[in-house]
């Protein structure tokens, strides 16, 4: 064990930092990324202090918080979904596409299927989950059977999914009453998710999101299935050695992952937009944001709630500065990248313990 001493300050290597240290490190990462983005903003001629004040002042109002909560819902569901995949060792970068497919499934039930009206909403939720799960199942079957790298295939499938959505809203599903806009017709009110009055918060989905984070926590801490998924995540060799069904455990993980992400898509079309629109307006990068969410929560499902809140706050901030400073939409990616990078740097710091007199971190 390496020990370095400077003025009574001891730095030594350790295996795994404790919970307080981990939380402290995440907070440090977020602060670092604020600083780093500020520098980039300043270089490109935008006053970072003005931008940040604007974000904080506008966010912490009643309408700002309502908007944050609305955005928190899809991010939470996607984050929990991705945690399941990541824990099973699957790099699911395809949440964006799985979310869109969920939205397509819900739209199909909402507008084009003849069902008994009270069943329409539950069916839309179910079919959305099935669509998202099926979309997630394709790359995992390719991985298990044909050894196709899932990072590339899930990513490629995001582009395919957005092509499908655009095809539908510009083509066969284009609304008759939409004046040439690439939208479907408005959904009948039987598939609307109930909102908290005066906001766009579709609360049933929010409750389900919180519930799912607890369920996934239980899955991995209390059940054999969760344990097997984690073990299979270590690789095929280990799974075979222990006699665990590698392929089936990975597929189950990906179905849960895609299903939760698909549900986020249903929430967006049945709760927020109430119609299907072109791909980039249905999901403004929720699927990619959720990768940060999963990493920020340290792959702990319970950590996904505060992480999703932070990311929803950042997305709301993005909208605020996009409107006030005329910045392009994609600019917020800088911040997303910074957060991930500083988390990686800070994690490396976490491999060391710092002692100073009685104080240890």
């Amino acid at each position: 064990m390496k020990v370095k001493m400077i003025h009574g300050l001891k730095i030594e290597r350790r295996e795994e930092p404790g919970l307080p240290a981990r939380i402290l490190l995440k907070v440090l990462a977020v602060i670092l990324s604020f600083l780093f983005s500020a520098i980039l903003f300043a270089i490109s001629g935008i006053d970072p202090w003005y931008a940040y004040t604007l974000i904080f002042v506008r966010s912490f109002t009643y309408s700002g918080l309502a908007e944050i909560t609305t955005k928190l819902i899809p991010i939470l569901l996607c984050t929990v979904g991705l945690i399941v995949a990541f824990k099973a060792g699957i790099w699911n970068i395809g949440a964006e596409g799985q979310l869109l497919l969920g939205a397509v499934g819900a739209t199909w039930i909402a507008l084009f299927v003849d069902v008994y009206d009270p069943l329409r909403l539950p069916l839309a939720l179910l079919v959305g989950m099935i669509f998202g799960a099926s979309w997630a199942l394709i790359p995992i079957i390719l991985k298990v059977r044909l050894n196709v790298n899932e990072i590339v295939s899930t990513l490629m499938m995001n582009y395919v999914a957005s092509g499908i959505v655009d095809y539908l809203v510009y083509g066969p599903w284009k609304g008759a009453r939409e004046w040439g806009f690439p939208y479907t017709d408005k959904f009948p009110d039987t598939v609307w998710l109930p909102l908290i009055p005066g906001t766009r918060i579709h609360w049933p989905t929010l409750i389900f999101g919180v519930f799912s984070s607890i369920m996934v926590y239980m899955l991995f801490s209390k059940t054999v299935l969760g344990f097997e998924m984690k073990v299979c995540g270590q690789g095929r060799k280990i799974a075979d050695y222990l006699g665990m069904p590698y392929g089936s455990r990975l597929m189950i993980a990906m179905v849960i992952s895609g299903g939760l992400v698909g549900l986020a898509g249903v929430g967006e079309v049945c709760g927020v937009h109430r119609r299907l629109r072109y791909a980039s307006s249905i999901s403004s990068g929720y699927g990619y944001t959720a990768i940060i969410g999963a990493w920020l929560s340290g792959l702990n499902p319970l950590g996904s709630i505060p992480s999703a809140f932070l990311l929803a706050f950042l997305l709301t901030g993005r909208d605020i500065i996009q409107v006030s400073l005329g910045l392009p939409f994609a600019t917020s990616n800088i911040f997303n990248g910074c957060i991930l990078l500083s988390m990686l740097v800070v994690e490396a710091l976490g491999r060391y313990r710092v002692r100073w007199g009685r104080w240890t971190i």
Partner: protein, 305 residues
């Protein structure tokens, strides 16, 4: 120019960007560093090249600054994956996100600005008149450069000591280290080469292929380049051939449009083709690829390895 020759010429010019990016990524991955930041480095390269060429009027400066910007970004990835040994997948994804963000921040005032001087088509006398093959000799300077570069990089990787060192570092860093090869230096150099070529690939898009800048102009080509790296079995020569397949699909997409097929659906073709081609490679009967570098994506640490 007949139809086939014209199609091939277009196919080649549509594939140069992914070829350049894949060549760089082959070197990075051969040394054991998986860099998923190609898309981001390309986006920044495209923007910087356009900006620099526009403001200096000199394309060479544009291309050079794009390469340098790609190298700077890959240096971040190198630091995280080689020096502090953190997660390479996440670091690469972060780099892609950051690159896309930076490019739209810098480029926000460039939209719609035409570029007065872009890389023009060079026709090699006599050779360019040969039917079909002539298509290879009727390209811009950067595409000619990509042919030469492929040959050089292939030669270095398989026929020189440097190449052996690179492959050894990616396959078995511990023995490479025991033979006195500096694992960290080799990995840093390969990662930086990958960054430089990804930046150049982006520059190709904005100053040669379509001399304009639009937001998100890389449109997933960086990811396709990553798929091409796998497809080529980490061999520069196969990457050249593979890139033409991918380029051909891109052109096919535009050629099929007049047939009344929906443009959004056609736009999914390159991505579908990428997935299908990776799957086909692994079907038992036509398995011809060699395995990935053994230590791809795994950090090296003397104390632990």
């Amino acid at each position: 120019m007949d139809y086939i020759t014209e199609f091939i010429a277009m196919m080649i010019s549509a594939s140069t960007a992914i070829l350049l990016a894949a060549l760089g990524e082959i070197y990075a991955e051969r040394s054991g560093v998986l860099n998923l930041g190609v898309e981001g480095m390309m986006a920044v390269g495209a923007t910087i090249a356009f900006y620099a060429t526009l403001s200096t009027g000199n394309i060479i400066i544009g291309l050079l600054s794009a390469s340098i910007s790609g190298m700077l970004l890959s240096l971040i990835h190198g630091f995280i994956s080689i020096t502090i040994r953190s997660n390479q997948v996440i670091s690469g994804l972060a780099l892609s996100m950051m690159g896309l963000g930076i490019s739209s921040l810098i480029g926000r005032n460039l939209i719609g600005t035409p570029l007065r001087n872009s890389l023009g088509i060079i026709e090699v006398a006599l050779l360019s008149d040969i039917p079909v093959i002539g298509a290879f000799f009727r390209q811009n300077a950067l595409t000619f450069f990509s042919y030469i570069l492929t040959a050089i990089l292939w030669y270095i990787l398989f026929k020189t000591k440097i190449g052996i060192a690179i492959r050894m570092v990616g396959d078995n860093p511990k023995s490479a280290d025991s033979l006195g090869i500096n694992v960290y230096t080799v990995r840093y150099r390969c990662t930086l080469l990958g960054g430089a070529l990804a930046g150049l690939a982006g520059a190709y898009l904005s100053v040669a292929y379509t001399p304009t800048w639009i937001e998100g102009m890389t449109a997933g080509q960086g990811w396709i380049a990553l798929a091409l790296t796998v497809f080529s079995a980490w061999n520069p020569l196969y990457a050249l051939i593979g890139s033409y397949l991918f380029g051909g699909i891109r052109i096919l997409q535009f050629r099929l449009q007049p047939l009344g097929l929906s443009p959004p659906l056609l736009s999914t073709l390159p991505y579908l083709f990428t997935i299908i081609s990776l799957a086909l490679l692994n079907i038992e009967k036509i398995r011809w690829r060699i395995g990935a570098p053994q230590h791809l994506g795994k950090p090296y640490h003397r104390e632990e390895a």
